[in-house]
Subunit: 421 residues, 4 copies
C-alpha cells in the first residue's frame, strides 16, 4: 500500500466552511466551529476543520466570486490569507497561528487551494521560490477554471513547475496543514481531468515529508480515471457541488453503486459535504438562502446512512454552533459510525422500483439498509435471510432500536431502515 | 460475498477451442485437448475445457459464420450439438456424454452460448419448455448481434422469457456444464450492454442449483458497468477478440490499469484467451492463418506476466497436443502461477516512456514486473527499494532465476523482468 | 440540374394514409380519399395519393406492427399488396388497378417501401429477378430496422443487389407508381444513414425510365448528409414521426432554420405529414386515439404557415372525407399556396423570446410571418420596413385580409400573422 | 437579401500576411505586397490586402505567440498598431495612413481582430468608449481562446458590451478598413461557436454605416451553424489552419462536398488562404520553414481548381514579390477566374476510388473538373455527355487548352483536368 493511504485509513470526518459561508468565512467563524467540534464531536471521530475557497480574497462576501479581484499574494506567487478576514495571519504569518490553535484543540487543520498559479502572478510575472523561473514560465497557456478567475493552470512539463507546487506544499506544511482540498482538478468541464497536475501534487507531497491528506474537487470524476485517482489521492468527488435537494440525493445512489468497487483503504470516493444544520448563511448557491437544511429528517437519515455505509468522507457543512440536538445525535449515531469506520465491501444488493438495498459487514455485525426512494411510503416484503450471511433472528433496526422479525416492513417516503445483525 | 463468487475463488484456467478451430471444433479435437490437459496441465491448475461458438452449426468450418444457416435445435427452441461434429450427442443426448468424459479425466466442462433465442425458432414460432408461450412471444424485436445471425435477443419483461433461460441452464446442468461463456452480451456495438439479460442469467443460474461459472463476452465492457458485472458474473471481457498482434498486447496494459480495482475474489476482468502455440488451424480471424503464435518469446513472457499478475482468467487458445516444451513450461511457470492464484491488489505503479511497472503481493512474496513496451531494448535505472515494502536484497528475477542487486537493468524490446522478493 | 429534380419542381402535395390508418389502410379508404382530393383539392395543387407502410401485411390493423408476421410476397422476394385489404390486387395484379384508378382521377399514385429485402425471403432463400443470386446472397447481415421486423438491409456491394432494387422499381413503374416513400433509410438509430442504399435507389430509378419521386424517411436526417441527400432524393425527413403535439411543432422551427439553405428546386427538406382533420382512426401512435387533430386553430395556422413558407412537402394525414370547411379552407388558402409554390429563399430573420420572424419572397410579393411561440398572447413592436425590401404601406395580413399600418400588433399564443406586401 | 451580402457579391480575393509572416508582418512588407497586387493582380480581381493577427504586439516575430505579452492599446481598451512595426501609426493615427495608401493603389484594406477584449484591459480595468462601464464589466468570465492569451470574450448580455464592439467598428471604419477577419469565433475547441458575439458584430457593422466585409475564423465551422453563419457573415472557415500538406488538401474535398449547398451570393464557405509561392518566411506553423510551397504543380492546380469552382474566397498567402511566372499565371488563369466569379451551383457529381468529379455552370459555359486524388496516375473512362447539359463536342481542357473528344483520359497523381464546354 502506498504510504499516503495510511494517512486516511478510514474516511476523513470533519467540518468545511463552504455550505454555510461560501467563499467568505472568517477566522472567528473557523475558530468557533473548531471549538464546537472539539467539545461535541471529536470523541466521535470528527477531526478536520477545513477553510474552503478564497481565503486569500479580501472582498469575498458570499459564494459568488468577484471576477478578476485582487488577491493577497506573497512575493513567490503564493496566495496568502486575507488579513482583514484572518487577523492572525498578519505579519506574513499565514495560517500558522490558526493551524496551531486548531491543533491545540486536538484537531486537524485543512485548507482549500485552486489548481494552478494566480493570474495576477502571471500578469506581474512574479518569482517562484527555489528557481529562477517566473510565473509566466510555468503558467499553462489558457488552462483555466471555467467558474473562477483566480488562476491559470500549471504546465507540469515546464522547468519551475515542480518547484512552484513544492513551494506551496512546503508552506502548507509549515503552517500545519493536515488536509488539502484542491479544486478545479478532479473533473473539468473544459478539459477533462488534470491528471498531470494531480500526479505532480502526489509527488511533491510525498517528497515533502508532510502527511497532508489530498482531496480532489469537484466532480463528477470519471470512472475511467478511478484507478488513477486511487493511486494519487485520498478522496475525490463523485458529483458537482451537492446541496440539500432531494434530486441530488436521489441521484447519488446510482453514483455510489458504480463507485463501490473503488472504496478501499486510504482512498475514498467522496459524496461531498453534508448540507445539514444551519447553512446558506452567506453561501448563496444551491438554490437556497440562509436556512436550516431543506432535507427532511427522513432524508437526512437516508443521506447519512448512504454516506456512512458507502464510506464517503463526512464533512459537516452547517454552522456547528447552531446545531440542534437531533442533528448532533445523527452525527454521533453509533451504528452509522461503525459502518463508516469499519465496513467492508459496501455494495448495493438490489434496486427495484426505487427500493434500494445496500449491505456492508463489520467485524462483529452485518448491516442491511433498505431505502425507499419513492415519493410515497412503501410496504416492503423483506426476507432478510437472503441478505445476511449468518443465521439468527436477533436483528434490530438502527434508528428505532427495535427488533425486527417479520417479513414485511413499512418505510416512509425518502426514508431508510437499517437492519443490524 | 455472493455464493456464485465462491465458484471461481481464483481466476479460471483452461483451454478454449476458438483460437485454433474457430466455430468448427469437433468432438475428437475437444477430447484430445482434454486428455493433454489432464496429463500435462491439470496439476498446474488448468481445469476447464471449453467448446466455443456454434457447436450447433453442422456446416461450420472456420471462424466465419454462415449467415442464416440452419441450426440444430430441439423442440423447445434450444440449440443442440451438431451430431456430425459431436457424434456422442446422437439420440438427443446433447453434451452429456462429452461432459461425462471430461469429468472422468478430473477436469471441468465448459460451453459457449449466444445471448437470445434462435431466429429460426422465432420464424417457426416453436415452443418453450415450462410455459405455453412461444418463441415469438419472448423474442426482443430487433435486438440482434451485429456479427452473427443466429439469434434474436430475449425480452426479459415478457412472460416466458425466464422459463426459456431457465430451460437452457437446466439442460446445461444436466449435461454437466461447469462453465458457460455467454456471447454478444458484455458489450454490444449496437445497443450498449445487455444488463437485463445478464441479470436474468444470474437469477436462473442461482436458482438452478448448478454451480456454473458465468463468463461474459465480448468486450470492451464499460467501466460504467463494472460494479454491475461484479455482482452478476465471474468474468467479463475487457476487449473485443484478442489475437497475436503486438498492438493488442500493448493496448491491454492501459485497460488493465483501469480495471485493476475490480480484480476481486470471484469476479475477474478477462483479458481474453491466450493465442499461443499452434493456432489458426481453422480459425481465420486475427489476420493470420494456420501458424504458431506470431508473438515472440519476449512478447509471450510479457503477456503471461501481465495476465497472471493482473489475475485475468487464463484460457489457452492453441491446439494443446502441438505444444512445444517452451510453451508448456511457460504455462507451468511456478512464479506466474503463484501471482495468478494468490496475488493481492495487482496494480500498475508507474508508466513512463513505455516502461511499465506493476506490482502484486502474495502471502510470502512481493513481485515487481518491469515491462519494456518500447520497440528497442532499454537500459533502466531501477531502485527496487522504492517498490518493495520489505527490506532485503534477496531479490531474484523470475524467468532467469538470477539474483538482482544492481541499480540498472537491461530489458529487451517487448520483454519483461519480474523481480521476486 | 439533375433530371430527377425536375420531377418535383415544387414541393409535392397530397395525402398519406399513415396518420389516420397506420399500417392498415384498405383500398376502399384509399379510393375515397383519392376521390375527395380529385373533387376538392386537385385544383389547389394536391395531387399525390400515398399508401403508407405494410400494404403487404394481411393482418395489419393499426400502427403497431405484428412482429415476424407472414407477408404477401411474390416469387422474386418482392412484397405484394395483401389481397384481403386491396382486392383489386388479386391475380397478382399488384397495385396496377389501383394506380390506374388514381390516374383516371387526374391524380398521382404513391406507395411506401421498407429499405431492404424481406427477412422471410432470406429465411426461405427465394429468387431475385434478373440474376441467379438469391435472397441470402444480397441480405446485409444484421442490418435491420430498429422498429419493424419486415426486412434485412441489402448489401449494395453484393452481386444481385442492384438487380433486386431494379426489380422493385420496374414493378413499381409497371404499377404506375409516381411517388416512392422509402423507409428506415434517411436516418437510423442503429447505424446512421444508409447512404449506399440511397445511392443505389437513385441509380436504378434514373436508369428505369420511370419518373418516380423519391422520398426518404424517417428523420432526423443529419445536416452532414444534407448535400448528399440533395443529390439523391426529392425529399427527406427532418424529424422522427410528427404528431399533433405542440412541442413537436415548436421544435420544428429550429430545424427549419438550420435546413433552410437546402430548400432548393427539386429537393425538399420534409417536415412530415400534416396531422390535421380526422386522424388516429386506426393509428395508435402519437399519444392520441381516434380524434380530430389536437392542434388548436392557431396552431394549425402556425403549422401551415411554417410548412408553406419553408416549402416543406405537404401531405395531409387525416381522413379527407371527414374534413370540415375550416380545414379545407386552410388547405386551399391562396397566400399559403403562393408562398409554397413560388417562394424564394425562405429564411428565419430573427428569433427573440420565442417571437420568430420568417420571410420569403415571390415574384410579385414579399411575405413576412410573425409567429408567437409563447404560451401567452404577445403585444409585439413591429417595424415591417426593416423586413420588406420595397417601400409601401399597402401591406395586408393573410388570414384576416386586413391592412396593417401600425407599429405594434397583438398575436395570440401559438398563433401567427402573415404580412403580405 | 440582406444588405451586407451585397458587399461581397463574389467571393473576395486578395492577399493575407499569415502564411509568410505569421504574427509579425511589418508595414513595409504590407506595402510591397499591396504594390505588387496593384500592378500584377488588381486587373484579375484581387483587391484585398489583409494584415493578419497581432499587429498590436510589438515583440511578435513569428507565428508563435508570446503568452501574456504586453499589447499596444488605447485608453478605450482597443488594440492599436505597434508603432515599431507600423511606423505610420505613430501619434495615435492607427491604421489610417496605411489604409489610405492601400486605397490610393485602388485596393481595399483588411485587418484581423481577436474576438473579445484584451486581458490586460480587464486586469487594468480600463475604460470603454461611449459608456461608463469598464473592461471588467463586459469581460465574459473565463471565455478564452484556447491558443492565444490576448483576450477575454465579451459577454453580450452585459451593458457596455455593444458599446465596446461599436467602438471597435467605428475605429476600423475611420481607419478605412474594408475587410475584417475576426478570430477565435467561427468554431472553438473549448466552447463550440460564439454565436452571440457573431450576432453582435453583425449588428454593429450594419448600424455603423461602414461596408466592412466580415470573415470568421478559424474552423471547422459546424454545419449546424451553417444557416446562422449565412445570415451573419460574408465568409467562414471550414477547417483549422490550412497548410501545404497534401492530406489537408485531400481532406478539403469532403468538406466542400458537404458545404456546397451553402455557397450562395454574398456568403462564402472559406477553404482558407492559399499557401502558395514563398511562404514560411517568419511563419513557423504548418510543419515547414522558409520555403516555396511544398505543393507540387499538380497539387497547386488541384487546389486552385477546387477553391475556384467551389467559390471559396481566394487569399494568397505567399510573399507576392517573390512570385515566379508559373504561380502568377495560375492566379490569373482565365477559366478559374470565370468559374470563381460566375459559377452557379458548384457541386460534386461523384466520387469513386478517389476520382472526384465536380461541376459548375457559368452563363456561357459548363465546367467539369476531374480530380485524381490517388497517389498514382489513373486512366479514367469518361463519358462527358453524362455531365454536360448541352450537346456538343467542342470541349477543351482548361490547363492545356487542348480539345477533348475521347472516352478516356489519363490524369496524373494529385492532378486535375478541367473540361470546359
Amino acid at each position: 500500500m502506498q504510504t499516503f493511504k495510511t494517512w486516511a485509513k478510514t474516511p476523513p470526518k470533519g467540518w468545511n466552511s463552504w455550505d454555510c459561508y461560501g467563499a467568505s468565512v472568517t477566522e472567528d467563524e473557523v475558530r468557533q466551529n473548531a471549538e464546537y467540534m472539539s467539545q461535541h464531536l471529536k470523541d466521535y471521530g470528527y477531526e478536520y476543520v477545513v477553510v474552503d475557497i478564497q481565503w486569500y480574497e479580501p472582498t469575498a462576501n458570499s459564494s459568488h466570486y468577484h471576477a478578476y479581484a485582487d488577491l493577497e499574494m506573497d512575493e513567490y506567487s503564493r496566495l496568502m490569507p486575507a488579513v482583514n478576514r484572518f487577523p492572525s495571519a498578519k505579519d506574513k504569518q499565514g495560517f500558522k497561528p490558526l493551524g496551531d490553535y486548531i491543533h491545540s484543540l486536538g484537531l486537524k487543520f485543512g485548507i482549500h487551494y485552486m489548481r494552478g498559479i494566480p493570474r495576477q502572478a502571471v500578469y506581474a510575472n512574479t518569482a517562484i521560490k527555489g528557481t529562477d523561473k517566473k510565473a509566466r514560465d510555468i503558467a499553462k497557456q489558457n488552462s483555466i477554471c471555467p467558474w473562477n478567475t483566480d488562476m491559470y493552470g500549471v504546465d507540469t512539463n515546464k522547468p519551475g513547475a515542480k518547484e512552484y507546487y513544492r513551494s506551496l506544499i512546503d508552506q502548507f506544511g509549515e503552517w500545519g496543514v493536515d488536509f488539502l482540498k484542491v479544486d478545479d482538478i478532479a473533473d473539468s468541464k473544459l478539459y477533462g481531468g488534470h491528471l498531470d497536475e494531480i500526479a505532480m501534487l502526489r509527488e511533491v507531497i510525498d517528497e515533502s515529508g508532510y502527511n497532508i491528506v489530498l482531496s480532489l474537487s469537484p466532480g463528477p470524476a470519471s470512472l475511467e480515471h478511478g484507478a488513477f485517482l486511487q493511486k494519487h489521492a485520498n478522496m475525490w468527488r463523485l458529483t458537482d457541488d451537492y446541496w440539500d435537494n432531494w434530486h441530488q440525493l436521489y441521484d447519488m445512489f446510482a453514483r455510489c453503486e458504480k463507485w463501490a468497487p473503488f472504496v478501499q483503504e486510504g482512498t475514498w470516493p467522496d459524496c461531498d459535504m453534508l448540507p445539514l444544520g444551519h447553512i446558506g448563511i452567506r453561501s448563496v448557491d444551491g438554490g437556497g438562502s440562509d436556512r436550516y437544511t431543506r432535507f427532511t429528517k427522513a432524508e437526512q437519515r437516508t443521506m447519512m446512512t448512504l454516506w456512512s455505509l458507502f464510506r464517503s468522507p463526512l464533512f459537516f457543512g452547517g454552522e456547528l454552533t447552531d446545531n440542534d440536538e437531533w442533528t448532533l445525535d445523527l452525527l454521533r449515531n453509533e451504528g452509522l459510525r461503525e459502518m463508516h469506520a469499519n465496513g467492508l465491501h459496501p455494495t448495493q444488493l438490489s434496486r427495484k422500483e426505487d427500493i434500494v438495498i445496500w449491505k456492508t459487514v463489520t467485524e462483529t455485525n452485518e448491516w442491511v439498509a433498505v431505502f425507499n426512494l419513492n415519493d410515497e411510503a412503501a410496504e416492503i416484503e423483506l426476507d432478510l435471510s437472503h441478505y445476511f450471511d449468518k443465521d439468527g433472528d436477533a436483528c434490530t433496526e438502527l434508528f428505532t432500536g427495535e427488533p425486527f422479525t417479520g417479513t414485511t416492513t413499512r418505510i416512509e417516503a425518502h426514508d431508510v431502515k437499517v437492519f443490524k445483525l
